[in-house]
Protein backbone atom coordinates (compact mmCIF):
# COMPACT_ATOMS: atom_id res chain seq x y z
CA UNK A 1 0.00 0.00 0.00
CA UNK A 2 1.40 3.37 -1.01
CA UNK A 3 -0.19 6.06 1.11
CA UNK A 4 1.15 8.73 -1.27
CA UNK A 5 -1.38 7.58 -3.89
CA UNK A 6 -4.34 7.41 -1.55
CA UNK A 7 -4.76 11.13 -0.99
CA UNK A 8 -3.85 14.12 -3.16
CA UNK A 9 -4.55 17.31 -1.28
CA UNK A 10 -3.28 19.51 -4.10
CA UNK A 11 -6.30 18.47 -6.17
CA UNK A 12 -8.62 17.41 -3.35
CA UNK A 13 -8.86 13.69 -4.11
CA UNK A 14 -9.12 10.67 -1.81
CA UNK A 15 -9.10 7.03 -2.80
CA UNK A 16 -12.26 5.37 -1.51
CA UNK A 17 -10.15 2.52 -0.23
CA UNK A 18 -9.14 4.66 2.76
CA UNK A 19 -12.67 4.15 4.07
CA UNK A 20 -12.83 0.40 3.59
CA UNK A 21 -9.41 -1.21 3.40
CA UNK A 22 -8.43 -3.44 6.31
CA UNK A 23 -4.64 -2.84 5.83
CA UNK A 24 -5.21 0.93 5.82
CA UNK A 25 -7.20 0.58 9.02
CA UNK A 26 -4.56 -1.52 10.77
CA UNK A 27 -1.99 1.11 9.85
CA UNK A 28 -4.27 3.85 11.22
CA UNK A 29 -4.49 2.07 14.56
CA UNK A 30 -0.68 2.11 14.67
CA UNK A 31 0.18 5.48 13.14
CA UNK A 32 -2.81 7.66 13.96
CA UNK A 33 -4.44 6.26 17.11
CA UNK A 34 -1.20 4.74 18.38
CA UNK A 35 0.65 8.04 18.11
CA UNK A 36 -1.67 11.04 18.43
CA UNK A 37 -2.98 12.63 21.60
CA UNK A 38 -6.47 11.21 22.11
CA UNK A 39 -9.18 12.71 24.30
CA UNK A 40 -9.83 10.51 27.35
CA UNK A 41 -12.18 12.41 29.66
CA UNK A 42 -12.97 15.83 31.06
CA UNK A 43 -11.89 16.55 34.63
CA UNK A 44 -15.53 17.30 35.47
CA UNK A 45 -16.32 13.63 34.79
CA UNK A 46 -13.95 12.35 37.49
CA UNK A 47 -14.05 15.08 40.16
CA UNK A 48 -13.31 12.94 43.27
CA UNK A 49 -10.40 10.65 44.21
CA UNK A 50 -11.01 7.10 42.91
CA UNK A 51 -13.53 8.33 40.34
CA UNK A 52 -13.03 6.45 37.11
CA UNK A 53 -14.23 6.75 33.52
CA UNK A 54 -13.91 4.11 30.83
CA UNK A 55 -13.11 4.97 27.25
CA UNK A 56 -11.16 3.82 24.20
CA UNK A 57 -7.92 4.82 22.52
CA UNK A 58 -8.42 3.44 19.04
CA UNK A 59 -9.77 -0.03 19.79
CA UNK A 60 -7.94 -0.27 23.11
CA UNK A 61 -10.13 -0.19 26.19
CA UNK A 62 -8.78 2.32 28.73
CA UNK A 63 -9.70 3.31 32.32
CA UNK A 64 -9.03 6.87 33.43
CA UNK A 65 -8.75 7.24 37.21
CA UNK A 66 -8.52 10.27 39.49
CA UNK A 67 -5.77 9.68 42.06
CA UNK A 68 -5.73 10.57 45.75
CA UNK A 69 -3.39 13.50 45.05
CA UNK A 70 -5.75 14.87 42.40
CA UNK A 71 -3.63 13.81 39.44
CA UNK A 72 -5.04 11.58 36.71
CA UNK A 73 -3.72 8.23 35.53
CA UNK A 74 -4.88 6.06 32.64
CA UNK A 75 -4.39 2.32 32.18
CA UNK A 76 -5.21 -0.31 29.63
CA UNK A 77 -8.36 -1.95 30.95
CA UNK A 78 -6.93 -5.43 30.82
CA UNK A 79 -5.76 -7.83 33.47
CA UNK A 80 -2.01 -8.48 33.39
CA UNK A 81 -2.64 -12.12 34.33
CA UNK A 82 -4.50 -13.50 31.35
CA UNK A 83 -6.07 -10.47 29.80
CA UNK A 84 -9.62 -10.28 31.10
CA UNK A 85 -11.31 -6.88 31.22
CA UNK A 86 -10.78 -5.32 34.65
CA UNK A 87 -13.51 -2.70 34.78
CA UNK A 88 -16.94 -3.43 33.33
CA UNK A 89 -18.73 -0.24 34.35
CA UNK A 90 -18.85 2.92 32.24
CA UNK A 91 -17.99 5.19 35.12
CA UNK A 92 -18.14 5.40 38.89
CA UNK A 93 -16.02 5.42 41.99
CA UNK A 94 -14.02 2.40 43.12
CA UNK A 95 -11.33 1.79 45.73
CA UNK A 96 -10.06 -1.15 43.72
CA UNK A 97 -10.73 -3.13 40.57
CA UNK A 98 -10.97 -6.89 40.99
CA UNK A 99 -10.67 -9.13 37.97
CA UNK A 100 -13.62 -11.49 37.52
CA UNK A 101 -11.54 -14.40 36.28
CA UNK A 102 -9.18 -15.37 39.12
CA UNK A 103 -9.61 -12.44 41.47
CA UNK A 104 -6.44 -10.37 41.08
CA UNK A 105 -7.16 -6.91 42.37
CA UNK A 106 -5.63 -3.62 41.35
CA UNK A 107 -5.43 -0.33 43.23
CA UNK A 108 -6.52 2.96 41.57
CA UNK A 109 -2.83 3.75 41.00
CA UNK A 110 -2.54 0.56 38.96
CA UNK A 111 -0.58 -1.48 41.50
CA UNK A 112 -1.36 -5.17 41.78
CA UNK A 113 -2.70 -5.14 45.32
CA UNK A 114 -4.03 -8.64 45.82
CA UNK A 115 -3.50 -12.12 44.38
CA UNK A 116 -5.62 -15.02 45.66
CA UNK A 117 -3.58 -18.02 46.88
CA UNK A 118 -0.42 -15.97 46.49
CA UNK A 119 1.53 -18.15 48.94
CA UNK A 120 -0.18 -21.49 48.40
CA UNK A 121 -0.18 -21.55 44.60
CA UNK A 122 2.55 -19.09 43.61
CA UNK A 123 4.74 -20.11 46.57
CA UNK A 124 5.20 -16.40 47.32
CA UNK A 125 7.36 -16.10 44.21
CA UNK A 126 5.19 -13.75 42.11
CA UNK A 127 6.85 -10.35 41.78
CA UNK A 128 3.70 -8.21 42.04
CA UNK A 129 5.59 -5.06 41.08
CA UNK A 130 5.95 -6.47 37.54
CA UNK A 131 2.21 -7.08 37.11
CA UNK A 132 0.61 -3.72 37.74
CA UNK A 133 -1.91 -2.36 35.22
CA UNK A 134 -0.16 -1.10 32.08
CA UNK A 135 -0.24 2.70 32.01
CA UNK A 136 -0.91 4.82 28.94
CA UNK A 137 2.55 6.19 28.07
CA UNK A 138 1.62 9.87 28.39
CA UNK A 139 -1.35 11.54 30.06
CA UNK A 140 -1.73 15.32 30.10
CA UNK A 141 -4.42 17.91 30.69
CA UNK A 142 -5.19 21.06 28.75
CA UNK A 143 -7.65 23.34 30.58
CA UNK A 144 -9.89 20.52 31.78
CA UNK A 145 -9.47 18.15 28.83
CA UNK A 146 -7.49 15.02 29.66
CA UNK A 147 -5.64 13.43 26.76
CA UNK A 148 -3.61 10.24 26.51
CA UNK A 149 -0.89 9.15 24.12
CA UNK A 150 0.49 5.64 23.58
CA UNK A 151 3.73 6.99 22.12
CA UNK A 152 6.40 7.98 24.66
CA UNK A 153 8.17 9.88 21.85
CA UNK A 154 5.17 12.07 20.99
CA UNK A 155 5.60 15.84 21.40
CA UNK A 156 4.04 17.45 24.47
CA UNK A 157 0.28 18.04 24.42
CA UNK A 158 0.93 21.80 24.35
CA UNK A 159 3.08 21.48 21.22
CA UNK A 160 0.67 19.03 19.66
CA UNK A 161 -2.22 21.49 20.05
CA UNK A 162 -0.04 24.37 18.87
CA UNK A 163 -1.89 27.40 17.55
CA UNK A 164 -5.19 25.54 17.66
CA UNK A 165 -5.17 26.73 21.29
CA UNK A 166 -6.09 30.20 19.97
CA UNK A 167 -9.49 28.72 19.00
CA UNK A 168 -9.72 26.13 21.79
CA UNK A 169 -9.40 28.83 24.40
CA UNK A 170 -12.49 30.60 23.09
CA UNK A 171 -14.38 27.76 24.72
CA UNK A 172 -12.01 26.56 27.43
CA UNK A 173 -10.75 29.84 28.83
CA UNK A 174 -13.17 32.68 28.10
CA UNK A 175 -14.38 32.81 31.69
CA UNK A 176 -12.54 32.07 34.93
CA UNK A 177 -14.72 29.11 36.00
CA UNK A 178 -13.71 26.82 33.15
CA UNK A 179 -16.00 24.28 31.51
CA UNK A 180 -17.68 20.93 32.19
CA UNK A 181 -19.17 18.07 30.27
CA UNK A 182 -22.66 17.27 31.56
CA UNK A 183 -25.09 14.39 31.25
CA UNK A 184 -24.48 10.72 30.65
CA UNK A 185 -22.57 9.64 27.55
CA UNK A 186 -24.80 9.47 24.48
CA UNK A 187 -23.55 6.41 22.61
CA UNK A 188 -24.51 5.32 19.13
CA UNK A 189 -23.17 2.73 16.69
CA UNK A 190 -22.69 4.05 13.16
CA UNK A 191 -21.66 1.89 10.23
CA UNK A 192 -19.22 4.47 8.97
CA UNK A 193 -15.48 4.80 8.64
CA UNK A 194 -14.27 7.08 11.44
CA UNK A 195 -12.85 9.72 9.09
CA UNK A 196 -16.21 10.56 7.52
CA UNK A 197 -17.88 12.13 10.57
CA UNK A 198 -14.66 13.99 11.34
CA UNK A 199 -14.45 15.49 7.85
CA UNK A 200 -18.17 16.25 7.99
CA UNK A 201 -17.96 18.29 11.19
CA UNK A 202 -14.52 19.81 10.58
CA UNK A 203 -15.50 21.66 7.46
CA UNK A 204 -18.64 20.53 5.71
CA UNK A 205 -20.93 23.54 5.87
CA UNK A 206 -22.04 22.44 2.39
CA UNK A 207 -24.27 19.63 3.69
CA UNK A 208 -26.14 21.64 6.30
CA UNK A 209 -28.79 23.23 4.13
CA UNK A 210 -29.50 20.01 2.26
CA UNK A 211 -28.92 16.99 4.54
CA UNK A 212 -30.61 18.82 7.43
CA UNK A 213 -33.28 20.59 5.39
CA UNK A 214 -36.11 18.76 7.17
CA UNK A 215 -34.90 19.76 10.62
CA UNK A 216 -34.10 23.30 9.48
CA UNK A 217 -37.64 23.71 8.19
CA UNK A 218 -39.15 22.38 11.42
CA UNK A 219 -36.85 24.29 13.79
CA UNK A 220 -37.14 27.79 12.41
CA UNK A 221 -34.79 29.30 14.96
CA UNK A 222 -31.91 27.28 13.50
CA UNK A 223 -30.98 29.90 10.96
CA UNK A 224 -27.27 29.41 10.47
CA UNK A 225 -25.71 32.61 9.28
CA UNK A 226 -24.93 32.46 5.59
CA UNK A 227 -26.75 29.18 4.90
CA UNK A 228 -30.27 28.49 3.77
CA UNK A 229 -32.67 25.58 3.65
CA UNK A 230 -32.23 23.49 0.53
CA UNK A 231 -28.83 25.07 -0.18
CA UNK A 232 -30.63 27.76 -2.17
CA UNK A 233 -27.99 30.33 -1.31
CA UNK A 234 -24.76 30.67 0.60
CA UNK A 235 -23.14 33.79 1.92
CA UNK A 236 -19.39 33.44 2.34
CA UNK A 237 -19.08 36.58 4.45
CA UNK A 238 -19.24 36.23 8.18
CA UNK A 239 -17.52 32.87 8.54
CA UNK A 240 -14.06 31.32 8.40
CA UNK A 241 -12.71 27.88 7.61
CA UNK A 242 -9.46 27.63 9.54
CA UNK A 243 -6.87 24.88 9.02
CA UNK A 244 -3.15 24.40 8.61
CA UNK A 245 -2.68 23.93 12.36
CA UNK A 246 -1.07 20.50 12.81
CA UNK A 247 -4.25 18.86 11.53
CA UNK A 248 -6.57 20.75 13.86
CA UNK A 249 -9.38 22.85 12.44
CA UNK A 250 -11.97 25.46 13.26
CA UNK A 251 -15.07 26.44 11.33
CA UNK A 252 -16.47 29.60 12.80
CA UNK A 253 -18.96 32.37 12.36
CA UNK A 254 -17.85 35.83 13.48
CA UNK A 255 -20.88 37.56 14.97
CA UNK A 256 -20.32 36.55 18.59
CA UNK A 257 -23.94 35.45 19.12
CA UNK A 258 -24.99 32.96 16.45
CA UNK A 259 -24.24 29.89 18.56
CA UNK A 260 -26.83 30.91 21.09
CA UNK A 261 -29.27 32.52 18.72
CA UNK A 262 -30.15 28.92 17.74
CA UNK A 263 -31.96 28.32 20.99
CA UNK A 264 -35.77 28.30 20.84
CA UNK A 265 -35.78 30.97 23.55
CA UNK A 266 -32.45 32.70 23.07
CA UNK A 267 -32.98 35.69 25.35
CA UNK A 268 -31.49 34.26 28.58
CA UNK A 269 -28.50 33.00 26.58
CA UNK A 270 -27.99 36.34 24.87
CA UNK A 271 -28.30 38.15 28.22
CA UNK A 272 -25.65 35.82 29.61
CA UNK A 273 -23.33 36.59 26.71
CA UNK A 274 -23.85 40.33 27.12
CA UNK A 275 -23.25 40.21 30.87
CA UNK A 276 -20.02 38.23 30.49
CA UNK A 277 -18.71 39.76 27.29
CA UNK A 278 -16.41 42.25 29.07
CA UNK A 279 -14.76 39.39 31.00
CA UNK A 280 -14.33 37.36 27.83
CA UNK A 281 -12.77 40.36 26.07
CA UNK A 282 -10.46 40.94 29.00
CA UNK A 283 -9.28 37.33 28.92
CA UNK A 284 -9.25 36.63 25.19
CA UNK A 285 -8.70 40.08 23.69
CA UNK A 286 -11.10 42.12 21.62
CA UNK A 287 -11.03 40.07 18.44
CA UNK A 288 -11.84 36.71 20.03
CA UNK A 289 -13.97 38.15 22.82
CA UNK A 290 -16.22 40.05 20.41
CA UNK A 291 -16.24 37.92 17.29
CA UNK A 292 -15.66 34.31 18.38
CA UNK A 293 -17.00 33.92 21.91
CA UNK A 294 -20.72 33.19 21.50
CA UNK A 295 -20.39 32.36 17.82
CA UNK A 296 -21.14 28.94 16.41
CA UNK A 297 -17.70 27.27 16.15
CA UNK A 298 -16.82 23.72 15.08
CA UNK A 299 -13.48 22.79 16.62
CA UNK A 300 -11.62 19.66 15.58
CA UNK A 301 -8.60 18.24 17.37
CA UNK A 302 -6.95 15.65 15.16
CA UNK A 303 -7.79 12.83 14.90
CA UNK A 304 -11.18 12.20 16.53
CA UNK A 305 -12.30 14.95 18.93
CA UNK A 306 -14.79 17.61 17.94
CA UNK A 307 -16.72 20.15 19.94
CA UNK A 308 -19.08 22.90 19.00
CA UNK A 309 -19.48 25.97 21.19
CA UNK A 310 -22.96 27.30 20.46
CA UNK A 311 -24.66 24.00 19.79
CA UNK A 312 -22.67 22.92 22.83
CA UNK A 313 -21.92 19.34 21.98
CA UNK A 314 -18.66 17.55 22.53
CA UNK A 315 -17.90 14.29 20.73
CA UNK A 316 -15.37 11.56 20.13
CA UNK A 317 -15.48 8.76 17.56
CA UNK A 318 -14.10 5.36 18.55
CA UNK A 319 -13.19 3.19 15.55
CA UNK A 320 -14.48 -0.40 15.51
CA UNK A 321 -12.95 -1.69 12.30
CA UNK A 322 -12.79 0.20 8.99
CA UNK A 323 -16.57 0.31 8.65
CA UNK A 324 -17.89 1.05 12.10
CA UNK A 325 -17.61 3.50 14.97
CA UNK A 326 -19.11 4.23 18.33
CA UNK A 327 -20.00 7.89 18.47
CA UNK A 328 -19.94 9.36 21.99
CA UNK A 329 -21.51 12.74 22.69
CA UNK A 330 -21.91 14.97 25.73
CA UNK A 331 -23.36 18.41 26.34
CA UNK A 332 -20.85 21.03 27.43
CA UNK A 333 -21.31 24.10 29.60
CA UNK A 334 -19.30 26.95 31.03
CA UNK A 335 -19.15 26.62 34.80
CA UNK A 336 -19.96 30.33 35.17
CA UNK A 337 -23.36 29.79 33.58
CA UNK A 338 -26.42 29.97 35.85
CA UNK A 339 -28.02 26.56 36.52
CA UNK A 340 -31.05 27.33 34.32
CA UNK A 341 -28.81 27.94 31.34
CA UNK A 342 -26.86 24.74 31.94
CA UNK A 343 -30.15 22.84 32.10
CA UNK A 344 -31.36 24.48 28.91
CA UNK A 345 -28.12 23.59 27.14
CA UNK A 346 -28.25 19.93 28.15
CA UNK A 347 -31.89 19.74 27.11
CA UNK A 348 -31.33 21.47 23.78
CA UNK A 349 -28.23 19.47 22.95
CA UNK A 350 -30.19 16.24 23.51
CA UNK A 351 -33.02 17.58 21.33
CA UNK A 352 -30.81 18.66 18.43
CA UNK A 353 -27.70 16.45 18.46
CA UNK A 354 -28.61 13.67 20.92
CA UNK A 355 -29.58 10.08 20.17
CA UNK A 356 -32.95 11.24 18.89
CA UNK A 357 -31.47 14.57 17.77
CA UNK A 358 -33.52 16.41 15.18
CA UNK A 359 -30.31 17.33 13.32
CA UNK A 360 -27.95 14.56 14.29
CA UNK A 361 -30.33 11.90 13.03
CA UNK A 362 -29.84 13.17 9.47
CA UNK A 363 -26.12 12.43 9.25
CA UNK A 364 -25.66 8.76 10.10
CA UNK A 365 -27.13 7.19 6.98
CA UNK A 366 -25.19 9.46 4.62
CA UNK A 367 -21.91 8.56 6.29
CA UNK A 368 -22.80 4.86 6.36
CA UNK A 369 -23.68 4.85 2.67
CA UNK A 370 -20.45 6.68 1.74
CA UNK A 371 -18.62 3.92 3.62
CA UNK A 372 -20.57 1.11 2.01
CA UNK A 373 -20.02 2.61 -1.44
CA UNK A 374 -16.27 2.29 -0.97
CA UNK A 375 -16.28 -1.44 -0.25
CA UNK A 376 -17.14 -2.96 -3.62
CA UNK A 377 -14.60 -4.42 -6.00
CA UNK A 378 -15.13 -1.51 -8.39
CA UNK A 379 -16.00 1.28 -5.94
CA UNK A 380 -12.95 0.58 -3.79
CA UNK A 381 -10.84 1.55 -6.82
CA UNK A 382 -12.68 4.83 -7.30
CA UNK A 383 -12.00 8.26 -5.80
CA UNK A 384 -13.99 10.89 -3.94
CA UNK A 385 -13.35 14.63 -3.97
CA UNK A 386 -12.87 17.51 -1.59
CA UNK A 387 -11.94 19.99 -4.29
CA UNK A 388 -14.24 22.91 -3.52
CA UNK A 389 -12.54 26.35 -3.36
CA UNK A 390 -9.06 24.99 -4.09
CA UNK A 391 -6.31 27.56 -3.67
CA UNK A 392 -8.61 30.20 -2.21
CA UNK A 393 -7.11 30.52 1.23
CA UNK A 394 -4.55 32.66 2.94
CA UNK A 395 -3.67 34.67 6.01
CA UNK A 396 -6.31 36.66 7.84
CA UNK A 397 -5.49 39.58 10.08
CA UNK A 398 -5.44 38.51 13.70
CA UNK A 399 -6.24 34.81 13.16
CA UNK A 400 -3.67 32.01 13.02
CA UNK A 401 -3.98 29.32 10.35
CA UNK A 402 -4.49 29.04 6.62
CA UNK A 403 -7.97 30.44 6.20
CA UNK A 404 -10.72 30.25 3.58
CA UNK A 405 -13.78 32.48 3.66
CA UNK A 406 -17.17 31.18 4.71
CA UNK A 407 -18.61 28.02 6.19
CA UNK A 408 -19.10 26.35 2.80
CA UNK A 409 -15.76 25.14 1.46
CA UNK A 410 -13.73 21.94 1.48
CA UNK A 411 -10.61 23.68 2.65
CA UNK A 412 -10.60 22.13 6.13
CA UNK A 413 -11.25 18.64 4.83
CA UNK A 414 -8.16 18.85 2.63
CA UNK A 415 -6.02 19.72 5.62
CA UNK A 416 -7.57 16.89 7.59
CA UNK A 417 -6.57 14.39 4.87
CA UNK A 418 -3.17 16.01 4.52
CA UNK A 419 -2.52 15.44 8.22
CA UNK A 420 -3.83 11.89 7.99
CA UNK A 421 -1.46 11.20 5.09
CA UNK A 422 1.49 12.74 6.93
CA UNK A 423 0.92 10.44 9.88
CA UNK A 424 0.30 7.39 7.73
CA UNK A 425 3.56 7.98 5.81
CA UNK A 426 5.70 8.62 8.88
CA UNK A 427 7.24 5.66 10.64
CA UNK A 428 7.77 7.70 13.80
CA UNK A 429 7.03 11.14 15.24
CA UNK A 430 10.40 12.40 14.01
CA UNK A 431 9.03 12.13 10.44
CA UNK A 432 5.80 13.99 11.19
CA UNK A 433 6.00 17.66 10.15
CA UNK A 434 4.89 20.34 12.62
CA UNK A 435 3.22 23.41 11.17
CA UNK A 436 1.22 26.30 12.53
CA UNK A 437 0.65 28.39 9.42
CA UNK A 438 0.44 32.17 9.79
CA UNK A 439 1.32 31.81 13.42
CA UNK A 440 0.60 34.99 15.36
CA UNK A 441 3.85 34.57 17.26
CA UNK A 442 5.89 34.53 14.06
CA UNK A 443 3.97 37.51 12.68
CA UNK A 444 4.73 39.52 15.79
CA UNK A 445 8.36 38.54 15.46
CA UNK A 446 8.37 39.85 11.88
CA UNK A 447 6.62 43.08 12.88
CA UNK A 448 9.07 43.72 15.70
Amino acid sequence: MDVADLVDTSTGRQSRSIYSSEPVYRQELERVFGRCWLFLAHISQIPQPNDFFRTYMGEDDVIVIRQKDGSVKAFLNTCTHRGNRICRADRGNARSFTCNYHGWSFAPDGALAGVPLENEAYFGELDRSKFGLVPVAQVAEYKGLIFGNFDPAAPSLEDYLGDAKFYLDVWLDALPGGTSLVGETQKMVLNTNWKLPVENVCGDGYHLGWAHAGAMMAVQSMDLSGLSVGNASANLEGGLSVAGLNGHMALTSLDGVSGYAFYPEPKPMLDYLEANRPTAIERLGKLRGEQLWGSQINITIFPNLQFLPGLNWFRVYHPKGPGQIEQWTWAMVENDMPEEIKTTILDNQCLTFGLAGLFDNDDGDNLAACTEQSRGWRTSQMDVYTNMALGRSGAREGFPGDIAAGLVSEHNQRYFYRRWQEHMQASSWSDVPAYNLNSLASREAVDA
Partner: protein, 175 residues
Protein backbone atom coordinates in the same frame (compact mmCIF):
# COMPACT_ATOMS: atom_id res chain seq x y z
CA UNK B 1 -45.24 -10.66 52.47
CA UNK B 2 -47.17 -10.40 49.25
CA UNK B 3 -47.80 -6.79 48.35
CA UNK B 4 -51.37 -6.63 47.11
CA UNK B 5 -51.23 -2.95 46.21
CA UNK B 6 -51.52 -1.27 43.83
CA UNK B 7 -54.87 -2.70 42.80
CA UNK B 8 -55.15 -4.27 39.38
CA UNK B 9 -57.78 -2.38 37.43
CA UNK B 10 -61.19 -3.68 36.51
CA UNK B 11 -61.52 -5.96 33.54
CA UNK B 12 -63.18 -3.37 31.28
CA UNK B 13 -60.41 -0.89 31.90
CA UNK B 14 -57.75 -3.49 31.20
CA UNK B 15 -59.38 -4.38 27.92
CA UNK B 16 -59.86 -0.77 26.89
CA UNK B 17 -56.27 0.24 27.64
CA UNK B 18 -54.71 -2.86 26.12
CA UNK B 19 -56.64 -2.18 22.95
CA UNK B 20 -55.53 1.44 23.18
CA UNK B 21 -51.87 0.41 23.19
CA UNK B 22 -52.33 -1.92 20.24
CA UNK B 23 -54.20 0.75 18.32
CA UNK B 24 -51.54 3.32 19.11
CA UNK B 25 -48.83 0.96 17.86
CA UNK B 26 -50.67 0.44 14.61
CA UNK B 27 -51.10 4.19 14.07
CA UNK B 28 -47.36 4.68 14.56
CA UNK B 29 -46.44 1.72 12.34
CA UNK B 30 -48.56 3.30 9.62
CA UNK B 31 -47.11 6.79 10.24
CA UNK B 32 -50.56 8.15 11.04
CA UNK B 33 -48.92 10.72 13.27
CA UNK B 34 -51.77 13.23 13.30
CA UNK B 35 -54.17 10.56 14.57
CA UNK B 36 -51.59 9.52 17.14
CA UNK B 37 -51.41 13.10 18.43
CA UNK B 38 -55.14 12.91 19.10
CA UNK B 39 -54.47 10.16 21.65
CA UNK B 40 -52.30 12.50 23.71
CA UNK B 41 -53.32 14.87 26.50
CA UNK B 42 -52.55 18.56 26.01
CA UNK B 43 -50.13 18.35 28.95
CA UNK B 44 -48.53 15.08 27.85
CA UNK B 45 -45.00 14.33 28.97
CA UNK B 46 -42.95 11.92 26.89
CA UNK B 47 -39.62 11.02 28.38
CA UNK B 48 -36.65 8.70 27.91
CA UNK B 49 -33.61 9.30 30.15
CA UNK B 50 -29.98 8.56 29.33
CA UNK B 51 -28.26 6.06 31.56
CA UNK B 52 -24.93 4.33 31.98
CA UNK B 53 -23.63 0.97 33.13
CA UNK B 54 -22.62 1.23 36.77
CA UNK B 55 -21.40 -1.24 39.37
CA UNK B 56 -24.19 -2.28 41.76
CA UNK B 57 -22.15 -1.04 44.69
CA UNK B 58 -21.28 2.27 43.07
CA UNK B 59 -22.01 5.23 45.31
CA UNK B 60 -20.57 8.05 43.25
CA UNK B 61 -22.41 11.35 43.21
CA UNK B 62 -25.18 11.93 40.68
CA UNK B 63 -24.12 13.78 37.56
CA UNK B 64 -24.30 17.55 37.86
CA UNK B 65 -27.12 19.17 35.87
CA UNK B 66 -28.72 15.74 35.35
CA UNK B 67 -28.38 12.65 33.20
CA UNK B 68 -29.82 14.15 30.04
CA UNK B 69 -32.44 12.58 27.83
CA UNK B 70 -33.18 10.90 24.58
CA UNK B 71 -36.70 12.33 24.68
CA UNK B 72 -37.85 15.13 26.98
CA UNK B 73 -40.89 16.13 25.04
CA UNK B 74 -44.15 17.93 25.55
CA UNK B 75 -46.86 18.14 22.92
CA UNK B 76 -45.12 21.00 21.08
CA UNK B 77 -41.89 19.05 20.77
CA UNK B 78 -43.62 15.91 19.59
CA UNK B 79 -45.29 18.06 16.95
CA UNK B 80 -41.88 19.47 16.01
CA UNK B 81 -40.55 15.96 15.44
CA UNK B 82 -43.59 15.16 13.33
CA UNK B 83 -43.18 18.40 11.33
CA UNK B 84 -39.63 17.30 10.54
CA UNK B 85 -40.72 13.79 9.54
CA UNK B 86 -43.47 15.29 7.38
CA UNK B 87 -41.20 17.86 5.71
CA UNK B 88 -40.32 15.62 2.78
CA UNK B 89 -36.63 16.27 3.44
CA UNK B 90 -35.84 13.48 5.90
CA UNK B 91 -33.83 11.31 3.57
CA UNK B 92 -33.35 8.52 6.11
CA UNK B 93 -37.09 7.79 5.87
CA UNK B 94 -37.42 7.81 2.08
CA UNK B 95 -38.02 5.12 0.90
CA UNK B 96 -39.87 4.34 4.12
CA UNK B 97 -38.30 1.86 6.50
CA UNK B 98 -40.34 -1.23 7.37
CA UNK B 99 -41.32 -0.61 10.95
CA UNK B 100 -43.43 -2.86 13.16
CA UNK B 101 -44.07 -2.56 16.87
CA UNK B 102 -44.73 -5.53 19.12
CA UNK B 103 -46.41 -4.45 22.37
CA UNK B 104 -46.55 -6.93 25.22
CA UNK B 105 -46.55 -7.50 29.00
CA UNK B 106 -49.43 -5.07 29.47
CA UNK B 107 -50.28 -4.53 33.12
CA UNK B 108 -52.97 -2.06 34.07
CA UNK B 109 -53.13 -0.64 37.59
CA UNK B 110 -55.32 1.92 39.29
CA UNK B 111 -53.65 5.29 39.69
CA UNK B 112 -54.01 7.70 42.60
CA UNK B 113 -56.19 9.96 40.49
CA UNK B 114 -59.66 8.45 40.06
CA UNK B 115 -59.82 9.03 36.31
CA UNK B 116 -56.30 7.74 35.61
CA UNK B 117 -54.61 4.37 35.18
CA UNK B 118 -50.98 3.33 35.27
CA UNK B 119 -50.05 1.01 32.42
CA UNK B 120 -46.80 -0.92 32.19
CA UNK B 121 -45.83 -2.45 28.88
CA UNK B 122 -42.91 -3.59 26.78
CA UNK B 123 -42.39 -2.49 23.19
CA UNK B 124 -40.07 -4.05 20.63
CA UNK B 125 -39.63 -1.95 17.51
CA UNK B 126 -38.55 -3.83 14.41
CA UNK B 127 -36.93 -1.54 11.83
CA UNK B 128 -35.87 -2.96 8.53
CA UNK B 129 -33.78 -0.06 7.27
CA UNK B 130 -32.87 1.36 3.89
CA UNK B 131 -29.57 -0.54 4.02
CA UNK B 132 -31.52 -3.80 4.16
CA UNK B 133 -30.42 -4.46 7.73
CA UNK B 134 -32.82 -4.96 10.62
CA UNK B 135 -32.49 -3.25 13.96
CA UNK B 136 -34.52 -4.14 17.02
CA UNK B 137 -35.09 -1.55 19.71
CA UNK B 138 -36.50 -2.78 23.01
CA UNK B 139 -37.91 -0.60 25.76
CA UNK B 140 -40.05 -0.80 28.86
CA UNK B 141 -42.78 1.81 29.25
CA UNK B 142 -44.68 3.13 32.22
CA UNK B 143 -47.64 5.22 31.15
CA UNK B 144 -50.31 7.26 32.83
CA UNK B 145 -53.53 7.25 30.83
CA UNK B 146 -56.34 9.65 31.67
CA UNK B 147 -59.99 9.14 30.95
CA UNK B 148 -61.33 12.10 28.99
CA UNK B 149 -65.02 11.59 28.27
CA UNK B 150 -65.36 8.18 26.67
CA UNK B 151 -61.77 7.71 25.63
CA UNK B 152 -58.41 7.24 27.27
CA UNK B 153 -55.64 9.76 26.51
CA UNK B 154 -51.93 9.44 27.23
CA UNK B 155 -50.87 11.84 30.00
CA UNK B 156 -47.32 10.63 30.57
CA UNK B 157 -44.93 8.03 29.23
CA UNK B 158 -41.65 7.11 30.85
CA UNK B 159 -39.56 4.98 28.51
CA UNK B 160 -36.62 2.84 29.63
CA UNK B 161 -34.46 2.03 26.61
CA UNK B 162 -32.66 -1.29 26.95
CA UNK B 163 -29.51 -0.41 24.99
CA UNK B 164 -26.39 1.17 26.44
CA UNK B 165 -25.21 1.92 22.91
CA UNK B 166 -27.96 2.79 20.47
CA UNK B 167 -27.73 0.14 17.72
CA UNK B 168 -29.05 2.42 14.98
CA UNK B 169 -28.11 5.67 13.26
CA UNK B 170 -31.25 7.53 14.25
CA UNK B 171 -34.36 7.41 16.39
CA UNK B 172 -36.90 8.57 13.86
CA UNK B 173 -39.50 6.48 15.68
CA UNK B 174 -41.78 6.94 18.67
CA UNK B 175 -41.87 4.32 21.42
Amino acid sequence: MLDVRPQPALHDTVTALTQRLFHEARLLDDERFEEWLELLCEDVSYHMALKSRRFRADRSAPIAVGAGNVFNDNLARLKLRIDRLRSGFVWAEDPPNFVRRVVSNVEVLDADEPNEAVVHSVVVIHRNRIDGQTRLLTAGRTDRWRKGGESWLLAAREIALDHSVLPDSNVNVFF
